[in-house]
Amino acid sequence: MVKLAAEGFRGLGGWAVESIWSLGHASCFFWSILVHSGTSFKRFRLVVREVYIVGVYSLIIIVVSGLFVGFVLGLQGYNTLQKYASEQALGLLVALSLVRELGPVVTALLFAGRAGTAITAEIGLMKATEQLSAMEMMAVDPIARVVAPRFWAGVISMPLLAAIFSMVGVFGGYFVGVVLIGVDEGAFWSQMQAGVDVFDDVLNGAIKSVVFGITVTWIALFEGYDSVPTAEGVSLATTRTVVTSSLAILALDFVLTALTLGG
């Protein structure tokens, strides 16, 4: 019994030490990205190319999801608000839900699934097929040439995608609330205009989406770069990207919301 408990503690200790090592390693990697970002800004077309790959290719899933989330918000919101005869506030409810919470969070979760996994798999396979080693041997730093442009592309794309998600969601809510159910159009837009604050709501949502963009892209790049260079290793790294990113997004969302509402 004592032996079993000792084994358990040893396992737990091993896991804790490994996690701390991994976090330290990831932090050094993050620092290295920042230090080697000069190339990304000097040759900005490298970043633009990645923005196209991680951003534009994610557009369809973001737009479609935003539209359906907007539909559901319109329906659920109307259903609840009409009990209190406040269905005029539907526009405000839809916009605030999207701009403050759902826009950044759902976009980040979709971004992790769509672009994060692609980044991890690509970097992991580049490592497995010695492309990163070949680059090093050609005196080209893979962090500066491959990793940093993808990082900045993720940081730029995420807030733009979140903004598009929120915008499409508002139109989704409008379609269900105003066009299908018949809420007053003037009230829908005017309440939204009066109730949504640029700094308190829009800016806080934008800050969240930038933080999520940094987090997801950092995790995806680190998992790819640190993956075991085999088929199984890359597959595990891709899974870890989704799991770690999703948990990080949700935890950070709570922290950021607490900070903004608490202040």
Binding site: E130, Q131, S133, A134, E136, M137, M138, A139
Partner: protein
């Protein structure tokens, strides 16, 4: 006149975790020669190339290239040195998102400010040297393994390096491609005035093109000499390797309990 050495490996030890791969390795690579490093799989040949390229650091000893100790160079110094080296990886390591032309142009675009018209001419010259000028627009996924190796070779000589390293350039090739690559290694070395290190275990091709051969086993050099000296060698390891004999100093069987014991054919006292 004494021979000038481009690469000197002095008493180098190297271990992956606790597994010692190189044990006091000494080697000299003379300028202008094609030198082959041979030995069984896992004997530390590729590790040696990575030490020369500065991707790994030795535990002790020194690796000198062109008079400079590689692991004492700073980041910029190491990258400056690598611009003068070319390396062909085992499976080419081509960038799969770029067509053949852009793969070869990659080092030129990264390290020079040459106008695009000049880069085009240089790339076509390199591709012509490996016989693949016509394949410039193909993607790496659609060309054969032998062609990929030739494209990678064109890429590794893009900056006219002083030292070209080949990691298993013959692995998995058909006899025609194999002959083509062997021929190119020799021809390009002489045409560029470079020095080549070829890590391989293909005996006949190596004996045909190399100027000097090192045999490695278990982390040390066990034999060395010109191809003629190697052919005539009576050392058991070299003889087994050159004549591809199944059993010899390198045993056919991985170390194990006696066969009869494993099959339970002896009694308890046996």
């Amino acid at each position: 006149m004494p021979t000038e050495h481009l690469v000197e490996i002095n008493n180098v030890n190297f271990a992956y975790d606790k597994r010692l791969v190189l044990k006091g390795m000494n080697m000299r690579i003379a300028k202008g020669q094609v030198v082959s490093i041979m030995g069984g799989s896992g004997c530390g040949k590729t590790t040696l190339l990575r030490l020369i390229g500065g991707q790994l650091r030795p535990a002790n000893g020194a690796v000198k290239v062109a008079g400079e100790v590689i692991h004492q160079l700073d980041h910029d110094g190491l990258y400056r040195m690598r611009r003068r080296m070319g390396m062909l990886f085992q499976f080419g390591a081509l960038f799969t998102d770029l067509p053949v032309f852009d793969n070869v142009a990659f080092p030129l675009r990264e390290h020079t400010d040459l106008p695009e018209a000049l880069i085009r001419d240089l790339v076509l010259m390199k591709l012509n040297a490996v016989g693949l000028r016509g394949a410039r627009d193909l993607m790496p996924a659609v060309i054969s393994g032998g062609m990929a190796r030739r494209v990678a070779l064109a890429r590794s000589i893009a900056l006219d390096p002083m030292l070209i390293m080949y990691d298993e350039p013959f692995a998995g090739l058909d006899p025609i491609s194999l002959g083509v690559i062997a021929n190119l290694i020799r021809r390009l070395n002489d045409a560029l005035g470079a020095t080549s290190i070829v890590v391989t275990h293909d005996v006949q091709e190596t004996l045909a093109i190399a100027d000097y051969i090192y045999f490695m086993s278990e982390g040390v050099v066990v034999a060395q000499g010109t191809p003629d000296e190697i052919r005539a060698s009576t050392l058991p390891f070299v003889h087994q390797f050159v004549h591809a004999e199944m059993d010899g100093p390198v045993p056919f069987h991985y170390s194990a309990n006696p066969y009869a014991d494993d099959l339970g054919l002896r009694d308890g006292n046996g």
